[in-house]
Symmetry: D2
C-alpha cells in the first residue's frame, strides 16, 4: 500500500502582476507517520488474531492453531528484523522475555518442550478481546499505547491485563509490534 | 506549548454483562509529529522574517537589520544544537556552505569581513515572499519541503529560487530549520 | 550540551590533475540519535535517583523526600511535554496508570490523599538498584529497554520487577522517560 | 539483512548474596539507526551507479543504459513509496522537480518525449564521481548529507555540483534516497 497522497492545495491568491497566470502546483505528500487510527486498527487486529487462533484450535486442534499463530506472528510482530521486546502476561523465570519468534509462538500455542511452562494462551476459548487505551504516544513511524485489554472466555469469565505496545510502520504501510509488555494487575 | 491533547474517545459498545457499568477512559495523546500545517506556517514564518529584516534595514540601517537577523536565526534555525546544512542561494566557493550561525548571519546581512562576498540577501528591498511547494515529506518530528520561493522587490522584480528545507519540531513545540538548500534555477 | 562533533575525515586520494591542491573539508556531524551507552547511563540515573529519594527520606523525612522526588521527576520524566505512559509496579485499580506528574509523585513518595493506596515506593530503605537488560531497541532519539530491575533493601531482601522503559533525547541532549511499565513477575 | 546484533554485556559485579549464582543475560539489540558509514557507502553506491549507467551506454547503447538506470532507480530511490523530493542539477522550468520515477529516469537517460529537455545526464562519458561531504545529519533511520560531488568525464573535464541527499533505511536494511537537491555552484 503506497502512502503517497496527492493533495490539492488551493491556489494562493495571485494579487500581484508578478504572479499573473501562475497556476499553483499540486503538492505531493509522502507521510511516514503512524496515525492514531492506524494504531487502534492494529490493536483490534491483534485481538482479532487472538480470537482467530482460539477458534482455529477449537475447529482444527493444535496443528491448525499453530499454523494460524505462525501466520499471525509473522504478520503482526517484527521478529524478522530482530529482537522484539515481548514480556507476555503469564511467562516467568528465565523465560519471562520472548525476544525470538519461537518464544512468542510457544507462548501463544504451547507444545514446545523448550518452553515447558507454556500452556498456549491463545488456545483458551476466548470469545471477546477489547482494548481500553489510557495513553497513546505518536512518534513518526512508531507509536506506543498503554492501557488495559479485557478478554472474556466461553464461560463468561473476564481476564484483564495491563498492556503496553509499540508499533512501527514500514515504508510499505505494514504495521508491526516491536514492544509488548503485558502484566496481571497488581492486587494491592 | 504543550503538545498534549485530551481526546474523548467514544465508549466502546458494552454488549456483554462483563462490561456493564464500564466507563471508557479519556485517552491522553502525546503527539511529537510535525504536521503539514505546522510546516507551511514555518515556511511563512521564514518569509515574514526575511521581510522583517529587510524592513529593519530600511528603517534602522545595518545595526537594526543585524539585530533582527540574529533574533530570527536563533529562533528559526537549529544552530544551537550543531551544524545546520545551509547552502544559501548566492554563496559560492569555499563559503558555499554555512554550517555555523556566523555564516548564516553574514549571508543575511553582510558586513562580516570573514565573508567578503556576502552583500546581505535580506537587506534588499523585498516586498513579498511566497512559497510554492512541490513535495512535502512528513517523518515524525522532522519534515522536508521542496519547491520554489518567489521574492518580489520594491521595483517589482521577481526572483525565483529552488528551495529545500527540513524542519524539526522540539518537544516544547519549537520548530527549527536543520536543512536549507537554495539554488538559482538552471537556465538550460 | 551540544551534540555537534567535528570529525576529521581523511582526505580522499587525489589522483587526478583535476583534484590537485584539493584539501578535504572537515565534515561536521549533527547526531540526534540516542546511543546504547546513553540509555544505560539513564537507567543507572533512575536507580541512583531512587536511592537518593530513599536516603533523603531517611535523613530529612517526607518533605525532603518529596522535594527530591519532584526534582527527579522533572529531570528524568517527560511530563512537561504531555502524558507519560507510566504503569508503576504497585499501582492498581483506577489508579493503575499515572500519566500525570502528580500521579508519579504520589507513587514515589505517597502522602497525596488523591492517591490513597500509594505508600511511597521510594521511601523504602533501598540500598541497591540494578538493571539487567534483555532487549534494547535504538530508534533515533528514542530507545526502549526491557528487562529486570533488582532492588535490595536494608534488610537484604531483594525485590525483582519486570520493567520496560522508553527514553527520548531532546535536541539539547537531555534524556527523559516517556514510557515506564513495571510489573511484578508472574508466579506461574 | 537482519540488523539484530547480539552483544555480550559484562556481568555486573555480584557483590551481595542475593545475586549469587546470577548469570548476566545476553542483551539483544535492535538498532534501526542509519550510521555515518552506511550513508557514506550509499553515496559511493550512487556514484558507482552513475558510472555504471554511463558504461552501459558506451557498451550497449540507449536500451542497455535505460535498463541499468531503471534497476538503479528502483534500488536506490524510494519512488515505490511515494514522491521523492528530487531536483536534478540540469532540470528547469515546469520540469525542475522530479517527484516520479518516470521523471528521474528521463533525467538520467533522456529519450522520453514527455521530458523534451532531458539529454540524459548519466549518458555522458563519466570516468569518476567523488563525494565531498560538508555536513552530515543523523536522525534515526534517516540521514542527510550536504556537500559537493565532482564528476570527471573522459576528456578530463570536471563538473562540480552542490548536492544535498537524504537517505532512509528500511527495517530490512535497504537504504534509499528520499531527497536529492543538486545545483550548479553560484558564480558570484
Amino acid at each position: 500500500m503506497l502512502r503517497s497522497r496527492l493533495l490539492q492545495i488551493a491556489p494562493a491568491l495571485a494579487l500581484g502582476l508578478s504572479l499573473q497566470g501562475y497556476a499553483a502546483p499540486t503538492v505531493q505528500v509522502l507521510n511516514s507517520n503512524l496515525t492514531q487510527a492506524e494504531v487502534v486498527a492494529a490493536q483490534k487486529g491483534w485481538c482479532d488474531a487472538l480470537l482467530k487462533i482460539s477458534a482455529a484450535y477449537a475447529s482444527g486442534g493444535f496443528s491448525k492453531a499453530k499454523a494460524t499463530a505462525e501466520a499471525v506472528i509473522d504478520q503482526a510482530y517484527a521478529y524478522q528484523y530482530g529482537p522484539v521486546a515481548f514480556k507476555p502476561t503469564l511467562a516467568s523465570g528465565s523465560q519471562t522475555f520472548r525476544p525470538t519468534r519461537a518464544g512468542a509462538l510457544a507462548y501463544f500455542v504451547g507444545g514446545n518442550p523448550a518452553f515447558p511452562s507454556d500452556k498456549g494462551f491463545a488456545l483458551k476459548p476466548w470469545r471477546s478481546c477489547e482494548v481500553i487505551n489510557q495513553v497513546i504516544q505518536l512518534n513518526g513511524s512508531y507509536a506506543t499505547t498503554m492501557g488495559n485489554v479485557r478478554f472474556v472466555d466461553s464461560s463468561g469469565k473476564t481476564t484483564t491485563v495491563d498492556k503496553t505496545w509499540s508499533f512501527m510502520k514500514e515504508p510499505d504501510g505494514s504495521i508491526r509490534i516491536v514492544l509488548h509488555h503485558s502484566s496481571l494487575p497488581f492486587e494491592g
